[in-house]
């Protein structure tokens, strides 16, 4: 990744099995002014394939800056499974991950933060909060991607 990375260059990987939810998220991101490319996958396995550049996504440009929006309830590998897998791979562990789910069960929230997700957002999404979180994450990305200033 280049030091001059900005939030506009970020690809948002949206892993969401519900078409309606995916559409709502796209519309709201667009309305909030995000022009980022949004790649949508329908389950956790596809999400993992994408971040690893494997399977159907073997041809994707490597090292594209990525932000993950993960639904928790997905077929095959669920969102928590994806989160775990990513955090277990040193190459991927620093990817920012936003968990999106319909449950605000404190245990589920704690579990996701414990596994290292960046933000946990409960559906129905308050889109303004969502956009604020994304913007904050964008700034966070700019900071951590300046070489030599990586937090220890």
């Amino acid at each position: 990744m280049t030091p001059a990375m900005r939030i506009e260059h970020l690809v948002i990987l949206l892993a969401e099995d519900d078409d309606g939810h995916a559409s709502l998220i796209r519309r709201n991101l667009k309305r909030a002014g995000f022009v980022n490319e949004i790649v949508r996958v329908r389950d956790g396995q596809e999400a993992l394939d994408y971040v690893r550049g494997e399977g159907a996504f073997a041809a994707r440009p490597p090292d594209a800056p990525l932000l993950l929006l993960l639904d928790i309830n997905m077929p095959k590998v669920d969102g928590v499974g994806v989160l775990k897998a990513i955090k277990a791979e040193p190459k991927l562990a620093r990817l920012p991950v936003i968990m999106l789910t319909t449950t605000d069960d404190p245990r589920e929230v704690d579990r996701c933060y414990g596994l290292g997700c960046s933000v946990y957002i409960t559906k129905p999404v308050q889109y303004q909060d969502f956009v604020d979180a994304l913007t904050r994450l964008g700034m966070f990305l700019e900071i951590i991607q300046v070489p030599g200033r990586e937090p220890t």
Binding site: G20, H21, L24, R27, T102, T103, D105, P106, R107, P124
Partner: protein, 422 residues
């Protein structure tokens, strides 16, 4: 045993005494120092099946089962040489006699020792204990059966309790997953009705365009200005309502599932916090909240706070506008169940007809008085059930309501009350 005080001189002549002894139902067997039988009354004859003539002069051991014979002479010698004048045999273990026909019987025996000119005389008074032993055995068996049955019933009850607890847990898990699944389509309903509202706004702006013929605009205005917003408003109201119901169900299932951290709870502090949080409501309703002395209890502080937040909230929400509101929180005397607290109001009260349903889910008595789903008291009761407490209510319509809550004073006795494992 000590010698009893000397008996007063008997009116019965000595020869009659021998007769009395002879006809007694109890067996009387006397032996000399060499354990030879010197007296064998009719009772003994009946019990052992010997004619006295058959046994007189024979060793006492003839009247014992063979397995007891070798040790017997030493035991007799010990008694003969010992300090006791009389003794009950078989106090520690059952003793047995042997009949003439070789059969054995349990015997109740007392022995006594008389020393005199003719040397030492040892007498055994023998009673056949067969019948008594039979009763005792039967009693013992009955007792064992009873104990066994009590054990079985206890185990059954414990099992049933466990199954009920599991059932409850299953229900809560079911409610949880159903409400959770319902949320997903609801997110779409909510999101897309919002989208529709936004589209409608844009459409309204587009229709303001002069290039559109006036009559089309007029007809469209009816659609985008009235019919469509009304439809959207109804959908959104329904979605909000559904969403609240689902949230209430989730709260209920969570009340049964969330892990508790039992510890001493400063109930006074908890109630103060609750009252502070409700201060604005109380001020708005011009109600007075009085808090008395509240002893600490044992439970999960968050859960206990939920209980009092709900009860105080209800008390403030359902005051009677006809009189100045007053809510009182206090403690009653400790009962068997532990601490007793009450939350008393002078509000609208609860009619008897509603009393039975008031702890059921989705039951609302005064839906017009405050927002809610009718889940509060259901959750309160569930929480108290899990904390090992109780709740009951006393109420008079138009006079007020008092909720009595009990909470354990200390940790449960694990042996006496094995609570459901989390």
């Amino acid at each position: 045993m000590s010698r009893s005080p000397a008996a007063p001189p008997s009116a019965v002549p000595p020869e009659r005494m021998a007769e009395i002894l002879d006809i007694a139902e109890d067996g009387v067997v006397t032996v000399d120092r060499d354990r030879r039988i010197v007296l064998f009354n009719r009772g003994a004859a009946k019990i052992f099946g010997y004619h006295p003539a058959e046994v007189l002069g024979r060793p006492l051991e003839d009247l014992l089962p063979e397995r007891y014979r070798p040790a017997h002479p030493a035991q007799v010698a010990s008694f003969a040489g010992g300090p006791d004048v009389s003794r009950v045999m078989g106090e520690r273990r059952l003793v047995f006699g042997r009949r003439q026909d070789g059969t054995e019987f349990p015997a109740e025996v007392t022995i006594s020792k008389l020393e005199g000119v003719g040397g030492t005389l040892l007498t055994a008074i023998v009673r056949d204990g067969t019948a008594r032993k039979k009763y005792e055995d039967a009693l013992k068996r009955l007792n064992q059966e009873l104990e066994e049955r009590v054990r079985e019933r206890t185990a059954e009850l414990a099992d049933r309790n466990l199954r009920l607890a599991q059932k409850n847990e299953e229900n809560e898990t079911f409610v949880y997953s159903v409400s959770h699944d319902l949320r997903s389509p609801l997110v779409n309903l909510e999101g897309f009705s919002e989208e529709l509202a936004l589209s409608l706004r844009d459409l309204t702006r587009l229709l303001a365009d002069d290039r559109i013929p006036a009559d089309v605009r007029a007809r469209a205005a009816g659609l985008v200005g009235e019919a469509m917003p009304e439809s959207v408003a109804f959908i959104r109201a329904a979605v909000t309502r559904l969403s609240r119901i689902i949230d209430a169900l989730l709260r209920l299932s969570r009340a049964g599932r969330v892990e508790y951290q039992p510890q001493p709870v400063d109930v006074a502090g908890v109630v103060r916090r609750v009252a502070d949080a409700l201060h604005a409501t109380a001020t708005e309703k011009q109600a007075e909240v009085a808090i008395g002395e509240l002893p600490p209890a044992w439970g999960d502080p968050t859960a206990v706070e939920q209980v009092f937040a709900n009860l105080l909230g209800n008390a403030l929400n359902y005051l009677d506008p006809a009189r100045p509101g007053r809510v009182e929180v206090g403690a009653g005397s400790d009962g068997e169940a532990g601490r007793t607290y009450f939350v008393r109001d002078n509000g609208l009260g609860i009619p008897d007809a509603h009393r039975a349903k008031m702890f059921q889910a989705f039951q609302r008595l005064h839906p017009d008085k405050a927002a809610g789903e009718g889940m509060g008291l259901t959750i309160v009761r569930r929480i108290l059930e899990r904390l090992g407490g109780t709740i009951r209510v006393e109420s008079a319509p138009r006079a007020g309501t008092t909720f009595f809550v009990t909470l354990p004073a200390g940790p449960p006795d694990r042996a006496a009350r094995p609570g459901p494992q989390p």
